[in-house]
C-alpha cells in the first residue's frame, strides 16, 4: 500500500469531517430560522481496492447533504394550520356578534322590555301626555336599536368583504412566489445533479405553510421537484411555474356579497365561496354564510313581526283626538320595502324591464331564509321558488300571462308586476333581510297614540234586567261602520230586547225613530245567563236570507205550505284544504224553526228564524172567535187580544208574543214557529191578516190560515249555500256581508224593553283598552307560526349564536391542539437541538483531529522511507 494512499485517506477523512462541521455550523446558525429543517451530511465508504491480500478501504466520501423533513408531516402541518386559522378567525368574529346580541347596551331584549313598559305606563294613565311621549321615545329607541344592531351586522359583512379581498390578494401573491420557487427548485435540482436544494425547499415549505394559514390547500409533489397547489374542490392555484390569481367580485344576485374564485372566461370568475374552506378566508366565508345572514334575517323578521303586530293593533284604536289609530311604525309593505325584497340578478338577459316586488302577508309564517326564484324554462313562464335554508322547492308552476301575477308562500307574496320574464332569469327574494333597516317610526305626535278603543257601549238607565253589553273586539276599522270621517260610528246601534230571549239590532242614527239595519238583524235569539256574541270576527262572513216565493207567506190551511227543499252547503276544510259539500233536506211543511235547527247542526252555519203576523180590521158579526196555535184568545179589540196573548203562558213560553199600536195586532214567534190562526164564527165575522211578504188577506169566520217563518243564515268565509228553491229560499240566494268590523258580547239577564247603545267613543280620553291590547302583544306568540313571542324569537337568536360560538370554541381548542401536535412532530423531526449540535461538534472535531493525526503519521512514514533511501 502506497504512502500517498494513506495521505489521501486522511485528507478524505478530514474533508468529510470538515463538511460535517460546516453543516453543524449551518444548523446552529439557523436554529431559530422559521421553517428551517436541520441538515445532515451523509457519508459513504467508497468501493475498496483489491490488492493481493484483500480489499483495502479507500477512505470516505460525502454522498449528499440530507434535509431532515417529511412530506407527510409538512402536509399534515399545513392541513392543521388551515383548520386552526379558520376556527380562530371564525371564533373571533363569533365572539363579537355574541357579545353584541347579548349586551344590555346593544341587544334588543332591553329595548323591547322598555318599550312595553312605557306602553304599560301609558295604559295606566292614558290621557297623560308625558306618558304618551315616553311611548314614542321608547319606540324611537327600539327602532334605533334595530338599526344599530343591523348596522353592526352590516359592518361585519363589510369587514368580511374587505378581509376577503385582501386575503385573496395575499393568496395570489403567495401563489406567485410559490410558482417562482418551483422554477428555482426545478433548476437547482437539474444543476445539482439530483441533489436537493434543501434551503430552497425549506423556503417553499414556509410559503406553503403561510398560504395554508389563509386558505385550505392540497399539495401534489412533482418529479422535477416542483409542487402543485390545489384549493377548493381540486381547482389548481399553482401548477409548476404558473399560477392562477384568486379573484373577488360582487355577487350577481346580491351586491352585498363578494364571490371568491379562480378566473373563468373573460374577466369572470368561478364562484367557489361556498366550497372554500380552511384558513382565514375559510373562517370569514363560513362566518358570512352560516351566521351573518341568518342573524340579520332573524333580526329583520323580528322587526317586521313587531312593526306589523303593533301596527295592526294600533290601527284598531282611537287616539286622544278621537281619530282612528294610524300607523305606529312605518308600513311594512310600503313601496320601498316591497321593492327592496327582490334582488334582480345582474346576469339576467336584457331587456332589463322586469318589475316585481314582495309584500308580507302574514308575519307569523315568515321564515328567516332567503329564496331563489328561477325561471327554469324551457317555456318562459315556468318558475321554481326554492327556499335556501333547506333547499326545498316551496312553489313551482306557471306564472299567469296576465300581470300582475302572484306567488304566495311562507307568509309573503311575490307580485310580478310587469316585464319580459324569460327562461334563465334569476331573482333572489329576501323577504326579511332588510326588515330591521326599513323599520321606522311613523307616529310622531303623542296625541296620535291610539290607546283607546273606538267604540263604547251604554246601557239605558231604565233597563230593568241585569244585561250588560261590552265591546268584545275591534277586528277591522276599514269597514262601513268606521267609514265616517268625523269620528262617528255609522250607524250607531240600538239593541232592544223584545223579550228576555229575543232582541233586535237597529240603526240608531235617529234616536227618535231607529230603523232596521241592512240586512236586518231582527228577532235574534238571546241565551240568558251566558255570554252571547254579537257579530262575527270572521271578515268573510256572509248571510243568505229566505226570500223564496213562499217564505213568510200566508197559507190557507193548517200547514205553512212550504215544500220539501234541499240545501247544498260547501265549505273548505281547514285541515285538508279540500272542499266539503253537505246537503240538508227539509220536510214538507217544516217550520222555519225546524229548518233553522237543521242548519245550525251544519259546521260553520248559524241560522236565526222568526215569524211575524199582523192582524187588523177585526169585524165581529156576532160570533167571532180567534184561536192562535191551538189556544183560544178572547177579546175583540187589538188591545185586549194583545194582552190576552201575552198572558197565555202556553204561547209566551213558546216564544210567541203580541204587541199593538192600537189598530194593528202584531204577533211574533221569536223562534220561527208557524203561526196558525183559526177564525171561528160565520160569514159576517172576519179579520184582515198581513203576512211577512206584505200581502193582506181577509180571513172570514170558519177558516184556518197558517204563516210560516223566515230565516237568516250566516255562513263563515268561503262557504256557499244554494237551494232547490221555490220554497223558503230562492235557488241562488244572494249572500250579503254581515261583517261589522267589531264584535260585542252581551251577558246577564236582560228583560223586554231593555236597550243598549253602541256608539263612537268620542272624548274617551280615559279609555286604555287598546293600550292593554297593545301590551298583551308582549306575551302573545306572534312569530314562527305563532310559536314564539317577540322576546322568544330574539332569545332563540342569542341562543343559536351562543351555541354555535361555544361549539366553535371547542373546535378551536381541538384544532389548536392538533396544530400544536403536528408542529411538535415537525419540530421534533426537523428542528435544531443545540445540545445535539454541540455534542456532534465535539464528536466531529475529534474525528477531524484523528484524520489530521493520520496525515502526520503518513508524513513520518514518508520521512522514514526517505531517510532509508538517502542513507
Amino acid at each position: 500500500m502506497a504512502g500517498s494512499d494513506l495521505l489521501n485517506l486522511a485528507v478524505a477523512g478530514m474533508n468529510a469531517q470538515r463538511s460535517i462541521l460546516g453543516t453543524i455550523g449551518h444548523n446552529i446558525s439557523n436554529a431559530n430560522t422559521e421553517g428551517y429543517s436541520r441538515q445532515q451530511v451523509v457519508l459513504e465508504t467508497p468501493p475498496p481496492q483489491f490488492s493481493g491480500g484483500g480489499y483495502f478501504g479507500t477512505g470516505v466520501t460525502q454522498q449528499t447533504i440530507r434535509r431532515l423533513a417529511n412530506d407527510y408531516v409538512s402536509s399534515q402541518l399545513r392541513t392543521d394550520n388551515a383548520i386552526f386559522n379558520e376556527m380562530d378567525t371564525y371564533l373571533g368574529k363569533m365572539e363579537s356578534v355574541d357579545n353584541l346580541l347579548a349586551d344590555a347596551r346593544t341587544g334588543m331584549a332591553p329595548g323591547m322590555q322598555q318599550f312595553f313598559s312605557a306602553l304599560q305606563t301609558a295604559a295606566n294613565d292614558p290621557s297623560s301626555l308625558p306618558a304618551r311621549q315616553l311611548v314614542i321615545s321608547q319606540g324611537n329607541s327600539l327602532v334605533d336599536r334595530f338599526h344599530n344592531l343591523d348596522q353592526r351586522l352590516r359592518a361585519f359583512n363589510m369587514e368580511v368583504n374587505k378581509q376577503v379581498t385582501s386575503l385573496a390578494a395575499r393568496v395570489t401573491a403567495l401563489a406567485k412566489s410559490i410558482a417562482e420557487m418551483n422554477q428555482e427548485v426545478t433548476a437547482a435540482v437539474g444543476a445539482g445533479q439530483g441533489n436537493m436544494p434543501n434551503d430552497l425547499l425549506d423556503k417553499r415549505d414556509k410559503l406553503l405553510k403561510e398560504l395554508s394559514g389563509y386558505i385550505g390547500i392540497q399539495t401534489v409533489g412533482q418529479d422535477d421537484g416542483s409542487v402543485n397547489v390545489l384549493i377548493s374542490k381540486g381547482q389548481a392555484l399553482v401548477v409548476g411555474k404558473s399560477y392562477n390569481p384568486l379573484l373577488t367580485k360582487a355577487s350577481a344576485d346580491n351586491p352585498d356579497r363578494l364571490d371568491v374564485g379562480l378566473p373563468a372566461g373573460v374577466d369572470g370568475l368561478q364562484d367557489a365561496s361556498d366550497n372554500l374552506s380552511g384558513g382565514q378566508l375559510g373562517g370569514y366565508l363560513t362566518f358570512r354564510n352560516e351566521v351573518l345572514r341568518d342573524a340579520q334575517n332573524t333580526l329583520g323578521r323580528l322587526a317586521l313581526g313587531m312593526a306589523d303586530g303593533i301596527n295592526q293593533q294600533h290601527a284598531l284604536g282611537m287616539d286622544l283626538e278621537g281619530r282612528l289609530g294610524g300607523l305606529f311604525f312605518s308600513d311594512i309593505n310600503d313601496s320601498i320595502a316591497t321593492k327592496g325584497r327582490v334582488v334582480l340578478d345582474s346576469s339576467n338577459l336584457p331587456p332589463n324591464d322586469r318589475s316585481l316586488n314582495v309584500s308580507i302577508t302574514d308575519t307569523s309564517l315568515l321564515t328567516t331564509s332567503d329564496y331563489d326564484l328561477d325561471f327554469t324554462g324551457p317555456a318562459n313562464d315556468l318558475y321554481v321558488l326554492r327556499r335556501r335554508s333547506d333547499n326545498e322547492i316551496v312553489s313551482q308552476g306557471v306564472i299567469s300571462t296576465m300581470f300582475p301575477s302572484t306567488i304566495s308562500v311562507d307568509g309573503f307574496t311575490i307580485n310580478l308586476v310587469a316585464g319580459s320574464f324569460q327562461a334563465g332569469d334569476h331573482f333572489m327574494i329576501q323577504p326579511v333581510h332588510r326588515g330591521a333597516v326599513n323599520m321606522e317610526m311613523a307616529i310622531n305626535r303623542n296625541q296620535s297614540l291610539a290607546l283607546a278603543a273606538p267604540l263604547r257601549t251604554l246601557s239605558s238607565t231604565q233597563n230593568r234586567g241585569s244585561g250588560a253589553l261590552e265591546l268584545n273586539t275591534v277586528e277591522d276599522v276599514s269597514t262601513q261602520a268606521f267609514a265616517a270621517q268625523s269620528g262617528a260610528l255609522s250607524p250607531p246601534l240600538l239593541i232592544r230586547f223584545n223579550s228576555a230571549t229575543s232582541y233586535d239590532i237597529l240603526d240608531n242614527s235617529d234616536p227618535k225613530a231607529p230603523v232596521a239595519l241592512i240586512p236586518p238583524r231582527t228577532e235574534r235569539t238571546f241565551l240568558p245567563g251566558v255570554e252571547n256574541d254579537i257579530f262575527s270576527s270572521d271578515s268573510g262572513i256572509l248571510e243568505v236570507r229566505s226570500e223564496g216565493a213562499l217564505a213568510g207567506a200566508l197559507n190557507a190551511g193548517a200547514n205553512n205550505g212550504y215544500p220539501a227543499e234541499t240545501f247544498t252547503i260547501s265549505r273548505v276544510d281547514t285541515l285538508s284544504g279540500s272542499v266539503v259539500t253537505q246537503t240538508v233536506n227539509t220536510a214538507l211543511n217544516a217550520s222555519a224553526r225546524t229548518v233553522a235547527d237543521q242548519l245550525n247542526a251544519v259546521t260553520g252555519l248559524s241560522a236565526n228564524a222568526y215569524t211575524r203576523m199582523k192582524v187588523g180590521n177585526i169585524v165581529d158579526g156576532g160570533s167571532l172567535s180567534l184561536e192562535l196555535n191551538g189556544q183560544l184568545v178572547t177579546g175583540l179589540s187589538v188591545l185586549a187580544l194583545a194582552s190576552n196573548i201575552n198572558n197565555t203562558a202556553l204561547l209566551t213560553n213558546a216564544g210567541i208574543r203580541a204587541s199593538t199600536d192600537g189598530t194593528t195586532l202584531t204577533i211574533t214567534s221569536e223562534k220561527g214557529d208557524d203561526l196558525s190562526l183559526i177564525v171561528g164564527g160565520g160569514v159576517g165575522d172576519s179579520v184582515d191578516v198581513t203576512d211577512m211578504t206584505g200581502a193582506a188577506t181577509t180571513v172570514s169566520g170558519g177558516s184556518i190560515v197558517t204563516e210560516g217563518g223566515v230565516l237568516e243564515v250566516e255562513m263563515l268565509s268561503g262557504m256557499t249555500f244554494t237551494s232547490t228553491g221555490a220554497g223558503l229560499f230562492t235557488s241562488g240566494p244572494l249572500p250579503l256581508s254581515v261583517f261589522m268590523g267589531y264584535t260585542l258580547k252581551l251577558n246577564g239577564l236582560p228583560q223586554a224593553g231593555d236597550t243598549f247603545l253602541v256608539d263612537y267613543n268620542s272624548r274617551g280620553s280615559a279609555d286604555n283598552r287598546n293600550a292593554l291590547m297593545l301590551n298583551a302583544l308582549q306575551n302573545v306568540q306572534q312569530l314562527d307560526g305563532k310559536g314564539s313571542t317577540y322576546i322568544n324569537a330574539y332569545s332563540q337568536l342569542v341562543e343559536n349564536i351562543g351555541t354555535r360560538s361555544s361549539q366553535i370554541k371547542i373546535n378551536h381548542e381541538a384544532s389548536k391542539g392538533l396544530l400544536e401536535q403536528s408542529q411538535e412532530t415537525r419540530d421534533s423531526l426537523s428542528g435544531v437541538n443545540l445540545d445535539e449540535e454541540a455534542a456532534k461538534l465535539l464528536e466531529h472535531e475529534m474525528a477531524y483531529n484523528a484524520s489530521a493525526q493520520v496525515v502526520t503519521m503518513a508524513r513520518s512514514l514518508f520521512d522514514t522511507l526517505l531517510r532509508v533511501v538517502g542513507a
Binding site: 304599560q120 295606566n124 263604547r456 342569542v798
Partner: protein
C-alpha cells in the same frame, strides 16, 4: 422523543400563554361578578337569563301598575266613603224632618242644609284624580260628569266605561267605576222618569228638557214601562199654522198620548201627561225630539233635590203634611238604596284592593325567586373563583420559574 431547542421554548411560551388566558378570564369573571360573560359560555343559561330578565322587568312594571292602582282606588274609596257619610247625614236630616213638631220654617232650615250637602256631594262626585281626570266619568276623563242642566237639575254626562290596569300577565283589575252605576242607576221606591234630549237635535242653541216630577204616581205606574217621545212637528201642522208645535207619542208604538198632538209650544211651559210634569226650555227646531224615559231607578242627586224642594215648599196644611209624609218615606227608602249601593261599591273596592295586595305579594315572591334563579344562572361563586384564581396564578408562577430554569440549560455553557 427528540426535542428541538425551538420546541422547548415554544412549549414554555404556549403553556404560559394558556395559563395567562385562564387567569385573565377568571379575573374578568371576578370583576364583573358574572359567571356567564357571553352567551357562548353557556348558551342555555344565556337564553334563560334573557327570559328571566324579561319576566323580572314585567313584574317590576306590574308592581308599578299596582302602585297606580292603589293610589287611584284609595282615592275612590275615600271619595265614596265621604259621599256615604254625607248621605248618612241627609238621612238623619230626613228623619228629623218627619218629626211632627217641625214647622214649615224649621223644615226650610233643614232644606237649606240639604242644599249645601247636595253641592258638597256633587263636588265629591266630580273629584279628579292625580292626572287631573274626573274619577267618575267613565272613559270621558276630561268631561265633568255631574253638571246642572238648563233647569238646574244635575245630569250625568260621562259614560259607562271602566278602565282596567294590567297587574299581572293574566290579571287586569278595574281601576274606575262609572258615576252612572254608582250614583245614578239606583233603585227607586217609586217608578219615576228621566228626560233626555235627542243627540241629533239641530236647534242652536240647543233647547233643553227638564224633569219636574211625578204628579200622580198611580197614573204613571199604569203608563210604566212605556216611554214617551216629544217631537217638534213642522210649523204647517199647528193651528193656526206657523207656530212651533209638538206631539207626544208612546215610544214603542207611536200612539199619541193624551191627545197631545201639535200642541203649541211656549218655552218653559208645564207639559203634563200620564201623571208626570216636565218643561222644555229654549227654541227647539222642527224635527228635534225629547225623550221621557220611565225608569225604576233614580239618581241620588235627584232624590235629594226632590226632598229639599218638598221641604222648602210644603206648608203645614194637612194635605201638605200628608204629602210630606209620603215624600219623606220614599226619600228614606231611596236614601237607604243609595247607602246600600255605596256600601256595595265600597265592598267591591275593598275586594279589588285585597286582590291587588295578594297579587303584589305574588309579584314580590316571584321577583325573589327569579332573582335567585338569575343569580344561580349568571352570578359567580366567589369562593370557587378566588380559589381557582390562586390555583391558576400558582401554576403560572411555576411555569415561569421552570421555564427560566430550562431555558438556560445548554451544553454550550460547558464548552469553554
Amino acid at each position: 422523543m427528540r426535542l428541538s431547542t425551538g420546541q422547548v421554548f415554544d412549549r414554555g411560551i404556549t403553556s404560559m400563554q394558556d395559563v395567562q388566558g385562564q387567569v385573565s378570564r377568571t379575573q374578568e369573571q371576578i370583576s364583573t361578578q358574572r359567571r356567564v360573560l357571553t352567551p357562548a359560555d353557556d348558551p342555555v343559561a344565556a337564553t334563560h337569563i334573557l327570559k328571566v330578565n324579561e319576566e323580572l322587568s314585567q313584574a317590576e312594571q306590574y308592581q308599578k301598575n299596582l302602585v297606580v292602582f292603589n293610589n287611584r282606588s284609595k282615592l275612590e274609596e275615600v271619595t265614596i266613603s265621604n259621599v256615604a257619610n254625607t248621605m248618612q247625614r241627609i238621612r238623619e236630616l230626613t228623619l228629623q224632618a218627619g218629626n211632627g213638631s217641625m214647622s214649615a220654617a224649621d223644615r226650610r232650615l233643614l232644606a237649606g242644609e240639604i242644599r249645601e250637602r247636595i253641592e258638597q256631594v256633587a263636588n265629591l262626585m266630580n273629584t279628579r284624580d292625580a292626572a287631573n281626570e274626573y274619577l267618575f266619568s267613565g272613559f270621558q276623563g276630561g268631561q265633568k260628569p255631574f253638571v246642572k242642566d238648563g233647569s238646574g237639575n244635575y245630569v250625568y254626562l260621562g259614560d259607562e266605561g271602566r278602565r282596567y290596569l294590567q297587574v299581572a300577565s293574566e290579571t287586569a283589575l278595574a281601576v274606575s267605576d262609572s258615576g252612572k252605576e254608582l250614583f245614578v242607576d239606583i233603585p227607586s221606591s217609586n217608578r219615576t222618569f228621566y228626560t233626555e234630549a235627542s243627540p241629533v237635535n239641530t236647534a242652536q242653541p240647543a233647547a233643553s228638557i227638564a224633569r219636574v216630577g211625578v204628579l200622580d204616581q198611580a197614573t204613571f205606574d199604569a203608563f210604566y214601562p212605556e216611554d214617551a217621545v216629544i217631537e217638534f212637528r213642522p210649523l204647517t201642522e199647528s193651528t193656526p199654522p206657523g207656530l212651533t208645535n209638538f206631539t207626544v207619542r208612546n215610544r214603542s208604538d207611536n200612539q199619541i198620548i193624551g191627545g197631545l198632538q201639535n200642541v203649541t209650544y211656549a218655552s218653559g211651559q208645564d207639559i203634563i201627561f200620564q201623571g208626570i210634569k216636565l218643561r222644555i226650555n229654549g227654541a227647539p227646531a222642527v224635527g228635534d225630539a225629547f225623550f221621557v224615559q220611565s225608569s225604576d231607578k233614580q239618581g241620588m242627586l235627584t232624590t235629594m233635590e226632590e226632598l229639599s224642594l218638598n221641604l222648602e215648599t210644603l206648608t203645614d196644611v194637612p194635605a201638605d203634611r200628608a204629602t210630606l209624609e209620603t215624600v219623606l218615606n220614599t226619600s228614606l227608602v231611596n236614601l237607604d238604596n243609595v247607602i246600600t249601593r255605596l256600601s256595595e261599591f265600597q265592598g267591591s273596592l275593598g275586594a279589588r284592593l285585597s286582590t291587588a295586595e295578594s297579587v303584589e305579594s305574588l309579584h314580590e315572591d316571584f321577583t325573589l325567586v327569579s332573582q335567585k334563579a338569575l343569580s344561580d344562572l349568571q352570578d359567580l361563586d366567589y369562593g370557587e373563583a378566588i380559589s381557582r384564581l390562586s390555583m391558576q396564578t400558582m401554576v403560572l408562577e411555576a411555569a415561569q420559574q421552570s421555564f427560566s430554569k430550562i431555558a438556560t440549560l445548554s451544553l454550550f455553557n460547558f464548552l469553554r
